[in-house]
């Protein structure tokens, strides 16, 4: 790993950039969902309240941390770091500056699947470790919901891989030069969005953290630092999943090539990427504001009886189209 890569990994298209994006996304979500509900949304901190998520993070981080007595101390101390690491590593595999992502591996799409599974596993572990009555029920729901949306999520991620005949995100993004995959396999895109809504526990699938029934869901017992990092990770995985959707279905940083010189074009690629990223992000929280929360049994029935066969059919169509 030469020093440039390390700088890229930690600074620009890497960690700091995405953490900043996570805060911006959280702010955007709160502001527009407020506006759509006739409210004002955060106003005080910074211009138009843009620093509100940052303020929340530092306020929470400075708060005293209460560790429940019978909880598993070890997991509660190290768990959030691992939970944060999952999306943090994932973003390194996404091509932003050009069609060359920071870390590359011919099979990194499979690694993405592992990351999605790993972050849900960590959430479940944290929930169990905090040993609260409400969090144990919430973890039960989390796992049930995970088993229902995992299959369609994988199928919808594999469809573009079949079309591009490559298992690396970079390869898939590059293969979309002529036609974005959202046009060829729109259903896969829709299924990916619905499944990522369930992964991010956003309405209508925010059942594990349903504040009205089981207080804070699996996050009930967290406080102080743990809660700050868990909340940050949730916004970070929100950005990560939107970025994944952009790379797999909207051609990653692809767009008209304007200037010959290398760095300027890299800048344009980033701009294309950002525009698409915000479009997908906006789409997700429009849905989040428009829908009510469904019950856990209804969610599983919806996924198994409707969405999984749909994504299977889409995969079949993709295979047929791909090999013609």
């Amino acid at each position: 790993m030469n020093p440039l890569q390390v700088v890229q990994l930690l600074l620009f298209p890497g960690l700091t950039f995405f953490v900043w994006l996570a805060f911006v996304f959280e702010w955007l979500e709160r502001k527009t969902s407020a506006r759509m509900q006739g409210r004002l949304g955060p106003v005080v901190t910074g211009p138009f309240g843009i620093l509100q998520p940052v303020a929340d993070f530092f306020k929470l981080a400075s708060k005293e941390e209460i560790i429940p007595a019978q909880s598993d101390k070890f997991v509660l101390r190290w768990g959030p770091a691992l939970y944060f690491a999952a999306p943090a590593i994932g973003i390194a595999f996404l091509p932003i500056l050009g069609f060359q992502s920071i870390l590359f591996d011919p099979l990194d799409l499979l690694f993405m699947l592992f990351i999605l599974a790993f972050s849900t596993l960590m959430a479940a572990m944290l929930g169990y470790a905090s040993a609260g009555r409400y969090s144990t029920i919430a973890v039960g729901r989390l796992v049930v919901q995970y088993t229902s949306y995992e299959v369609p999520l994988i199928l919808s991620m594999v469809t573009p891989a079949v079309l591009a005949r490559s298992l690396s995100i970079q390869g898939i993004a590059a293969a979309q030069g002529s036609m974005w995959y959202i046009v060829i396999v729109p259903v896969a895109f829709a299924v990916f969005i619905i499944a990522s809504l369930a992964e991010l526990e956003k309405p209508p699938f925010d059942i594990p953290s349903a504040k009205t029934e089981i207080v804070g869901g699996w996050m009930t017992e967290f406080s102080g630092n743990t809660l700050a990092y868990v909340k940050l990770t949730k916004s970070l995985s929100y950005v990560f999943l939107s970025a994944l959707a952009v790379s797999l279905f909207l051609g990653g940083p692809g767009g008209p090539v304007i200037s010959a010189d290398q760095n300027l074009q890299a800048l344009f690629y980033t701009v294309y990427f950002m525009v698409k990223l915000f479009a997908v992000g906006f789409l997700i929280f429009v849905i989040r504001t428009a829908l009510a929360r469904v019950r856990i049994d209804q969610a599983t029935r919806l996924f198994w009886t409707f969405i999984t066969p749909l994504s299977l059919a889409q995969l079949a169509v993709a295979i047929f189209v791909g090999f013609r």
Partner: protein, 412 residues
Amino acid sequence: MSEDLQHGQRKELSAGLIQYSVESAMPFGPIHPSLKEPEYFKLILEGERIVQVIPRIGYVHRGIERAAQERTWVKNIYLFERICGICSFAHSLGYTHAVEALTPFEVPKRAKYIRVIVAELERIHSHLLWLGLLGHWAGFDTLFMWIWKDREHILDLEEAITGNRVHKSYSTFGGVRMDLPDGIAAKLKTEMKYIEKRVDYYENLVGAEETLTVRTKGVGRISQETARRLSPVGPLLRCTGIARDVRVEDPYAAYDEIAPRVQTSNDGDIASLLTLRLNEIRESCWMVSEAAERLPTGPYKVSIPRAVPRGESMFHVEAPRGELFYFVKSGGGSAPERVKIRTSTMANLLTATEMLKGCTLADVPVVLTGMDPCFGCMDRISVLDVGQSKEWSVRGEELRTYGIEYYRKRLS
């Protein structure tokens, strides 16, 4: 109540209350984000399905009936309207009517019309509040925000007429304390048209939005037979198809001239409660504009001497949640000898526990809100447990501090 239950033992009790103990009895309350007021339900679960619900109430108990015996008749108006934050005018209406029934005086016609206007405004604002809360508990916060945005119109109207958004302190013995501000009739009509337009929009939104109907259709169903047995009141009774409304059966104030058409729906679940309350809002909008139209001229108040003649009187009014009953016994003195208040939530509680049976845990808040509980209403008799009980309630917050201040000053 279930402490001494053995595991798996099932005992048939009267009134369909079956004592049943299973390994996981889940406490729901007394302080829980979904409950705006501390009530405590011990849910006996099998997995996520509820088998038995045991209510334990009394957490916002302020001993109002005992306190009423130590206050003069006029001071009690302000005490009783603070029983409930949402149906506060219904309480002061019930109490003033009960006392007026003991005196030979006749309330002027204009005052009766004004009372109908303010009572129906309060019904609209209570139903809108309930509708928004139901959206919130079903996870649909957008609906909650919109509906409470529209509810502001009604609260502004109430503030313009009575001076206060919630505790109106407007009805007194012999009529109302202030006349309607001039030019209010036109404003009332335009606002009512706006509310009717909004209610039409919400009706097709709530009826069609799949993620919401799925949470309310067939959830918490009560049959007409259970309703007859447990005799709930108000919308909870009317949603099973039994058309009973105090405003029609025993018209008070000006309800004999502006009679509401009693709304019913017939499958007794939360969805039918939704449409029922929406229609009731439309009905109240019609009644307010009708009353504003036919408002007679004349005095708005007749003065009644302080001491109330000896005697007993019973009066019931149709509060937003159902029949609210006042019994007043006067010994001829400056304070009542006994005041008995039976609020609508007290009558609906048994039916609510019946509705909860068979639902899953996720339905509890939706079903509980379906009953539109107002526990501040129900808990108003007991000893001074103000200091000891850990009340936490947003709506009752002001009542709580008032209660504590009163007792600390009164007894220190």
